[in-house]
Amino acid sequence: MNYLYVAYGATWTIHVIYLITVMRRYSRLKKEVDELTKKS
């Protein structure tokens, strides 16, 4: 039973880590857009 919970937990950990990296890239991009808008 432990292996089952570890496997399900690992699956969601991998997906959440990936989603966090995508969100971080989004916020970095948003910052760049704001800077560009300020410049122009």
Partner: protein, 294 residues
């Protein structure tokens, strides 16, 4: 479009929760393996989703290579039409000649021969209709990245099932090794895209993606072609499964496919926006020295 994303997100979250409940509670307990068999409801749908994403990456990469030249683009269109027609004709020939039917390799079914060609052609032409050459390249990056995430899930959940059932975490079996090779090829694809700044990077990456996609059929058919420790398939090729288990498996696949679609959607938008910003910055950098000279 802006409203569709949260609605789809909510539907996917509900679907994933329901699929998890079905996998943990409703699905019957397997007699020999016990509860650890339930890993299968995450492992198999993740593998199918990864294969689907790598297939889309393959189609996008082929399009990126052929659509840059109108001549090769035209040839590719006709090749796709021929592939669709030939797969239907081949299925008909196999049906009419019983001797040929017996020579069909294990794991290959008549319905899959008849449908593969037309499905590939439909996906190819849909992609061609709705995505520009630049967009198709962004789609290739997106599908490769999300595909690697799902393939990672497969490579992590597999050993977690193998340890209590086989007594070992890993064996250099053809199915396992070819999956690891597939993962490594697509990781190298992403590394190439991330760190190479050459103008030829998309072309090289597209070629690498086509090479990587060739490993997908090897992974899929390896359990029929070679003697492997990996369990035999439960669907197709003579496999059988309890209908309640099949229902839970397909439900989880549907939930993970919706989830993959949503992740791809956001990642694709991010990729397109990043490219637009990079182009603007490059243009600015080009114009700046001129304004300084004035």
């Amino acid at each position: 479009m802006k409203k569709a994303f949260p609605i789809l997100g909510l539907v996917t979250a509900l679907l994933l929760s329901y699929a998890l409940y079905e996998a943990l509670v409703v699905a019957p307990r397997e007699q020999t393996m016990g509860d650890v068999q339930r890993i299968f409801y995450y492992h198999v749908p993740s593998a199918w989703t990864a294969f689907l994403l790598f297939f889309l990456n393959f189609v996008a990469s082929v399009q990126y290579l052929v659509r840059r030249d109108p001549k090769t683009d035209r040839v590719a269109n006709w090749v796709l039409v021929a592939v669709a027609g030939l797969s239907c004709v081949a299925a008909l020939v196999f049906k009419l000649v019983p001797d040929l039917m017996q020579a069909l390799p294990q794991g290959v079914e008549l319905s899959s021969i008849a449908s593969t060609g037309p499905i590939v052609a439909i996906i190819y032409f849909l992609m061609r209709r709705y995505f520009s050459v630049e967009a198709v390249d962004a789609l290739a990056v997106t599908t490769a990245e999300v595909g690697v995430v799902f393939c990672t899930v497969v490579l992590v959940t597999g050993p977690l099932w193998a340890r209590p059932v086989w007594g070992i975490w890993w064996t250099w079996d053809v199915r396992l090794t070819s999956t690891l090779v597939l993962w490594l090829i697509y990781v190298s694809y992403l590394v190439l895209r991330r760190f190479s700044s050459s103008g030829q990077t998309p072309v090289l990456a597209a070629a690498l993606a086509i090479f990587g996609a060739l490993d997908v059929p090897l992974v899929y058919f390896s359990i029929w072609i070679f003697r492997t420790q990996h369990p035999q398939p439960v669907i197709g090729g003579g496999g059988s499964i309890d209908p309640r288990m099949l229902h839970v498996l397909l439900l989880n696949w549907l939930a993970f496919s919706c989830f993959a679609f949503l992740v791809c959607w956001s990642r694709y938008r991010l990729e397109r926006a990043t490219r637009e910003i990079e182009e603007t910055l490059a243009l600015e950098a080009l114009l700046e020295p001129r304004s300084a000279l004035r």
